[in-house]
Amino acid sequence: MSTIKRFARLFGREQLEHELSDELRFHVEQQTALNIQKGMTAEEARFAALRAFGGVEQIKEESRDLRGIRILNDLIQDLRYGLRTLAKSPGFTAVAVLTLALGIGANTAIFSVVNAVVLRPLPYKDPYRLVMVKESILLAGAEPIPVCAPDVIQFQRQNQVFESVAAFRGGQFDLAGEGEPERITAERVNAGLFSLLGVQPMLGRAFTTDEDQPGHPIAILTYALWKRRFGADPGVIGRTMTLDRQPYTVIGIMPGSFSFPLQGMEQGHTADIFVPMAFTREELADEGDNFNYSVLARLKPGISLASANADVEAVAYRILQTYPPQFRDRIKLSAVALPLSSQVVGKVRTLLLLLLGAVGFVLLIACANVANLLLSRAAHRQREIAVRLALGAGRARLLRQLAAENLLLALAGAGLGLLLAFGILRGMVARMPANIPRVNAIGMNLTVLAFTLALAGFTALLFGLAPALAASRADLQSTLKEGGRSAQQGPQHHRLRSALVVGEVALSLVLLVGAGLLVRSFERVLATQPGFQPEHVLTASLSLPEAQYKEVQKIRDFYRELMAELEQLPGVTAVGASTDLPLQAGWNHIFTPERSQPPPGTGLNFCWHSVILGDYLQTMGVPLLRGRYFNEQDTPASAPVLLVSESLAKRYWPNQDPIGKRLKWGPPESNDPWLTIVGVVGDVKQGPLDAPTIQHTYEPYAQRNVPASSLNVALRAAGGPTSLAASLRAAVWRLDRQLAVAQVRAMDEVISESTAPRRFTLYLLAAFAALAVVLAAIGIYGVISYSVAQRTHEIGIRMALGAQRGDVLRQVVGQGLHLLGAGVLIGVVGALALTRFLLSLLYEVRPNDPLTFISVSLILTSVALLACYIPARRATKVDPMNALRYE
């Protein structure tokens, strides 16, 4: 039948119903007449005819089905009926909807993040054709690292696989003008970068190739900086701004949606401003050194990643051939092309998928709970269903009706869940650690909405299927015969409910173990000694612009005067400065110790190295273990000296006094002067707290031929360090009014920032685990109290026959323990299989840590036992007389 006809029939529904009845009535009447002819009485004849005909209503139903008055009509009817039924039991509906909302809401929130960060293509033109070219050298452990400046030119010239190649490098500028001087992030970029990304300025223009040469002080602003510093004034194009005391002409503004570089493309922050790369002659002469330029390239259409890799490797090989032979062997230069998307999201993908998995578990548990609720409801509705079956409802029709009810529940859950997700997301984005890229793209959109809807449908199927099937399988005979007595459910019903609870317990145990392992790791991280005393320390970063501080003496003078100024500040107990601060980063230096065999298995010796000024180590609270700190006698004229960390001293001079030993920079053949060790200080966590400690050396600022123009100042305060921030700024500005004082932070803050990603994951996973446990407890509670309610009669008889309260209690709790035991066992096995995915997030804790497994099992068991105990106590309160009379 055509759809139109079917549709037309929908509207003639009443007439059709009429015709159907008429036709069947005609049939029965004819049969009755025939039976009378055969000699039956009128009554007998009609009864016989009806019996021969079968169930009139059933035939009507089946016929209706075929006559197409059904589908849409039934759906509306089913939904309406569903609404009525749900409204009739508001308690059940509220619990089910709330449970589903928690599950769906949490999933929606995490999915929004995954969608924005991992799934959505990067915000550039044809992002799948973008790759990053990286080099690797033996010196740096053969890990892919950025490229050195002369090689950028070689890749641009020699490659055969890219449409274009562009380099970029982040840096800092002091932006002066109205208001306080401010340190901003400036990205030096090749002229072709914007067209390579497929993005153009929304105002003004991009850089030309000619401008990508030294001597063009021009800049393109990001939308955010333009709004913040220039009030979004379009007239700013063509005007000059002062960057590091030099005038730059603004030539363009990038659109608000443009964000570059994204996390993972490069160390550091998103740029505030872009300036031409304009490689200097010195930079281009840095062959095989200074690997600091990130390179983006766009593949020609049809070029595979593999052929791109072969091509860049060939270019690197040709470059390597131009190096002196001795250097060639040691540096072993090579190159790779890596997909941009994996560079940006690669590191957080595992984390986010893990969270998605965890939150998926929560949803499964929520579904199991609702399924359990539906099962106990089905018991109450058994009679209703049996009556409807007897009155002619088809099994399929009944299933559809139950499905409509489930769908309503799921949709209500999804609606509430969306609201919940909105709240969760807001809270989450505000606490999102810096290692997650594209945070600003996170939000609700159509994809997320579609996901939520699909999730609602999926959950309706998941929690509704088994109960609906069980319900529609009702046994008419016995149910109807039982009359007023409340129907009992068969053993398979009970098994299903038990299986659901066991599953819930198992899933929540897996989540609990995951959260437990993270908690233990976090504890270990917090317990890690950073090697310095962060309390009361305030730090700030200063960078003297080259234009104003050309002469070495001027730089030295500035920092000497600054130290003197800072020492005078009230409330300051110690002052110093260093090229690197703890927990932030460091630079690898190659060194050669004198008369010490390098430990076997290593070629060159590496350490991190800082140049320090004033009482930096005392200010940070790094303990002196042997020898002395630097002092006023360490001058350019005196013998060059060095402090080493404990781990370095122990490694190269075990069981010896390292004082007086010497080392020099570079490989054994280098001509650098020997430096004498005058002291050993404690190891400091220079990188993240959860990274291995790296051996470290310190050199006095005074003995440096070319003093660093950028230093981090550290102050130790008698009281709270943040109160010193204003006087620190004032002291700097007394010496130079235009100098930006950047990253003014208490060291405590730096520590808590360094653990932020860990805390974020931990909080989320712990929240999911807690939710899981609560849901599982509710599930157990539901099953046990249902079984107690069903067995009131039995318990009554037992007690009448002399069972003690303790016996009853034991029996009920024992039943719960059975389920619990099975769930915990399965959960432990599941957790053992799954926790290895957590490996990258753990610190000093093994994924099968027995303490974690045992303690979370105990936690789960005690919560669940409590959930059993409440209904068990109710069972002991059963009054035998009442229970028996109740029948």
């Binding site: 008429d22 036709e23 069947l24 007449a33 005909f53 079968g54 035939i59 006559r67």
Partner: protein
């Protein structure tokens, strides 16, 4: 005469179409006619008859209309369409082939 035989799956459609080829008829008449002609061997369950009629109607093999029965009662009459006629021919030859084949098999194995 033994027990009435159950109708083979799918043969009810064939029998209905065949019955309607002779003249338009109402549901009751169709069931009576099949029973008569088969000398009570084939008995149509009403539970299957009406759904089958609507199925055939949906397929466009028969059409229905209201008319007066022999005893002047309002009854729903079914009539074969051209499409139904064609289907009947096809089904008939199918059936004959099948019946012949079964007969052959039975003859061979006896």
């Amino acid at each position: 005469m033994g027990k009435p035989a159950d109708l083979l799956q799918g043969t009810l459609d064939l029998l209905i179409l065949k019955t309607l080829k002779l003249q338009p008829m109402h549901g009751w008449g169709i069931s009576q006619r099949i029973q008569q002609i088969s000398e009570d061997v084939l008995r149509v369950q009403q539970g299957s008859l009406y759904p089958a009629l609507y199925r055939l109607e949906n397929q466009g093999l028969i059409v229905a209309g209201w008319g007066a029965s022999e005893n002047n009662r309002r009854a729903r009459f079914y009539r074969l369409t051209a499409k139904g006629r064609k289907r009947l021919e096809a089904e008939e030859s199918n059936w004959e082939r099948l019946a012949a084949a079964i007969a052959q098999v039975l003859a061979a194995t006896s």
